[in-house]
């Protein structure tokens, strides 16, 4: 009797087909999209093109996974675009102008982004500023420093070997793809299998209740911004390595894509809900669409329009689905 009751109540129950569909909507759409493109476009199904999509999606996916943590805790980080610029330009400056070894420069820029993350977090969590405003301010300040440091000009001449990060292959597999999956798996385990990871969901779902349950809500809140900044700087290094030049404008158009990806991946803008692999699929989804538009030679401004419509649609669905 006891055994029976125990089994019954600890059995994972699914919310039925409807909740399955709404949970994995993005995956289903993604498979449908890829299938259609594979069947109709010969240029698309070229393996070279497919690998290219994944490689291009990789670093944006890594940055989006960072933003995911901030949104999961119910905040928003607008400063990622200038963090990307900062990492890119200072890294190039440290290596090319000052002649530091690459590993040391990497360490320094990651440290810088950690500091930015802490500032974002402290302003939002302890200073109780709306995160949108706090990070917008930080974004502009960093952008200012980027300009002051570089005068607005790119710094080129990074060592050839650094190119491996963004364009290298392990066998036939692009290195960025491997990096993305390793990070995704680590973060998946972190968010689902550790108590600290679960705390992000708790804090985003109900800040006060989490606080009263003894979760270190301030630490978790700040940590989300730090994780975001660190993953953003890894992504920025990858993007920089493709051109081997530091560029302050590198991240200017990425903020929009990153937001789209995180929401596409099923993360609730209210916080408390979302999955790491949803974000990865969201990144691939958006990249496939971009790729298709390029193959169909649609002009860049029209690509913005299409991406804008996608974001509006997804946010509309997110805001109007009844959540219990």
């Amino acid at each position: 009797m006891f055994e029976l009751d125990y089994k019954e109540k600890t059995k994972r129950y699914s919310g039925g087909i409807k909740s399955f569909l709404s949970d994995w909507m993005i995956l289903i759409l993604f498979i449908a999209l890829v299938t259609i493109c594979m069947l109709t476009m010969s240029k698309f199904r070229d393996p070279k093109n497919l690998f290219n999509i994944i490689r291009q999606a990789s670093f944006i996916a890594i940055i989006s996974m960072g933003e995911f943590f901030v949104i999961l805790t119910g905040n928003m980080d607008m400063s990622i675009s200038s963090i990307i610029g900062m990492v890119s330009i200072f890294f190039a400056g440290l290596v090319v102008t000052m002649g530091l070894p690459v590993w040391l420069a990497v360490l320094i820029v990651i440290l810088m982004s950690i500091i930015v993350g802490i500032i974002n977090g402290v302003l939002t969590v302890i200073g109780k500023m709306p995160s949108f405003i706090a990070t917008l301010v930080v974004m502009n300040i960093i952008r200012g420093f980027n300009f002051i440091y570089s005068g607005g000009l790119p710094i080129s001449g990074l060592p050839e070997g650094f190119n491996f990060l963004g364009a290298g292959y392990v066998g036939v597999v692009p290195f960025p793809m491997i990096l993305m999956f390793i990070i995704a798996i680590i973060l998946y385990v972190f968010t689902t299998q550790t108590s600290l990871g679960r705390s992000f969901y708790a804090v985003g779902g109900n800040y006060e209740a989490s606080k009263l349950s003894g979760i270190n809500v301030q630490f978790v809140g700040i940590l989300a911004f730090v994780i975001c900044a660190v993953l953003t700087s890894i992504g920025a290094l990858g993007l920089t390595s493709k051109t081997l030049a530091g560029n302050i404008a590198l991240g200017d158009e990425l903020l929009f894509d990153v937001m789209t990806i995180v929401v596409l991946g099923g993360t609730s803008l209210m916080g408390g809900r979302g999955r790491i692999f949803g974000v990865v699929i969201g990144a691939l989804f958006l990249q496939v669409i971009s790729n298709v538009m390029v193959l169909m030679s649609i002009a860049t401004p029209w690509q913005w329009v299409v991406k804008g419509i996608i974001l509006v649609t997804v946010v509309l669905i997110d805001s109007n689905t009844k959540r219990d």
């Binding site: 125990y6 600890t10 994972r12 708790a202 209740a209 009263l212 003894g214 979760i215 219990d324």
Partner: protein, 513 residues
């Protein structure tokens, strides 16, 4: 009362305001209502009673159009309502209003604006404030209330906010008003005022559906009753034909022999001592002490500083002065996390806002403070052990659920409260701070919480309990600290534990001894 009886007599041939026939409401996995019938006549106050999860709110939501019944028929003033597209908007236009205990008011706007929101009268395109002001005065005369409608509602007392909500319903020309556990958060005096208003409304021929957990109220102001139990219709009839024990038996399906368990008399060492606790605008110079196996009560009106006091003990309210001695050793509690580490658990008054994470399931809510204890290889969560622990503790608390992976948002109030208590029992706390642990839950669940508190004291735990219900405090506590405007007026124990003594101190009257 006489006049309302007359109204009923006059209208006994009248068409019922609301008639629900064979209503069934199904949610995934649960049958919330099973073949329920309900009739409301004009000028009648109809009590809808039953335990938590019995289906009272579900039924009222079917009537207001928030839910659409799976099966069954709804007639409003004899007219069949088409179920398929019945909405809240339609029910409002048919004259059905609901007044909740939780407010749906714009806090920054005045009472006047709240009442007429969306229905402003205009004169050549501008809002005609004078006309609105006149209307409000008429309403105030009609309800015989003296509430300031010209200040932002956030400055109003709970009872006054409810009057504003009622006024809003009346402006809406309501024929049916549902009172959804309105009195659960009110003090005695304000409850009497609500009763008076109900009588005024009845004379107007307005039908009232009265949902409450306080059965005395049913006998005081209702004409008829309908009892629900587990979504089934148990009985309906005239209140005059039954007495309280009969009603209780119908509600819980058993005899309630002794409402309060025997107070534990095995008292141990001093657990917690508080000295000179002072926080600006909340309370000052509060001293209290709690021993193992004791329940101490904190009584006081709204604004007496009860909630702030327990929050401060839990490290969630700033102090300017005061000492805490835990087992004789002085500690400085910095924040809730610290308090929990010291073995203190807190059951907050607003369980939906502060006690639970509505996005989480039962298991995750139960283990929220203890997550870090269930580890594999030092870092990974041991989910099996977590589920086992959550299962065991919830079994002990007799929680009614079908899966640990069920979201807590759809559980009844009593079951939700059990989870909030369960998480601290799992944490094995020594001291439980409970802020209104039985707020808005039914008798059956209350009784279970009482025996649970008793069980905890037998294990040598100490409990500090805040409650607006004097009866509850008298029945459960060893000692009652009565607060008035932030000061402990009196500590009541032994033979002095009577309602009269407590009421005097509640109102700030010093005894002339």
């Amino acid at each position: 009362m006489n006049t309302s009886a007359e109204v009923i007599k006059q209208t006994s041939n009248a068409i019922p305001l609301i008639e629900v026939k064979n209503c069934t409401m199904e949610f995934p996995g649960v049958k919330a209502l099973d073949n329920v019938n309900f009739t409301l006549m004009p000028g009648e106050c109809h009590a809808l009673v039953g335990e938590n999860g019995a289906g009272k709110s579900t039924l009222s939501k079917c009537i207001t159009g928030e839910y659409r019944m799976t099966q069954g028929e709804l007639y409003i003033e004899g007219k069949r309502i088409r179920n398929s597209n019945y909405t809240i908007r339609e029910s409002q236009s048919l004259g059905i209003s609901i007044v909740h205990q939780e407010f749906q008011l714009m806090n920054e706007m005045t009472g006047l604006e709240n009442v007429f929101l969306g229905r402003y009268e205009t004169k050549s395109g501008f809002i005609d404030w004078k006309a609105l002001q006149k209307k409000i005065e008429e309403l105030k005369d009609f309800l015989e209330v003296d509430v300031n409608f010209n200040i932002p509602v956030k400055y109003l007392r709970t009872a006054e906010k409810q009057i504003v909500q009622l006024a809003r319903a009346l402006v809406n020309d309501s024929k049916v008003i549902i009172f959804d556990e309105l009195t659960a958060v009110l003090q005695e005096k304000d409850i009497q005022n609500i009763f008076r208003i109900i009588n005024v409304l009845k004379k107007r021929g307005i039908g009232i559906i009265y949902i409450s957990h306080r059965l005395d109220e049913v006998f005081e102001c209702c004409d008829s009753y309908t009892v629900l139990c587990d979504g089934k219709h148990i009985n309906s009839g005239k209140v005059a034909d039954i007495d309280k024990p009969q009603l209780i038996r119908m509600i819980i399906g058993r005899e309630l022999t002794q409402a309060y368990p025997q107070i534990n008399n095995k008292i141990g060492d001093t657990l917690l001592e508080i000295r000179d606790f002072t926080a600006p605008k909340a309370f000052r110079d509060v001293n209290l002490c709690l021993r193992e196996g004791e329940v101490i009560g904190i009584a006081g009106l709204v604004g007496a500083g009860k909630t702030e006091l327990v929050q401060a003990i839990f490290g969630n309210h700033e102090l300017i002065k005061g000492k805490i001695l835990l087992r004789g050793k002085e500690v400085k509690i910095k924040n809730p996390r610290h308090a929990i580490k010291l073995g203190i658990g807190f059951v907050p008054d607003e369980r939906r806002m502060l006690g639970l994470n509505m996005l989480f399931d039962i298991k995750d809510n139960t283990t929220l403070p203890t997550m870090a204890m269930f580890r594999k290889y030092k870092i990974f969560q041991d989910k099996k052990a977590e589920a086992k622990a959550a299962y065991d503790i919830n079994k002990k608390l007799n929680l009614n659920y079908y899966s640990l992976w069920q979201k807590v948002s759809k559980l009844s109030g009593g079951n939700q409260q059990k989870i909030v208590i369960a998480k601290w029992m799992l944490r094995n706390c020594d001291i439980f701070l409970m802020d209104e642990p039985t707020r808005g839950i039914d008798i059956g669940a209350k009784f279970e919480i009482y025996s649970l508190i008793n069980e905890l004291t037998k294990q040598g735990k100490g409990i500090i309990m805040v409650s607006p219900e004097m009866e509850e405090l008298i029945g459960l506590c060893h000692r009652i600290y009565v607060m008035y405007e932030g000061v402990v007026m009196d500590v009541v124990e032994g033979e002095r534990k009577t309602q009269e003594v407590i009421i005097n101190s509640l109102l700030g009257v010093k005894e002339n001894v």
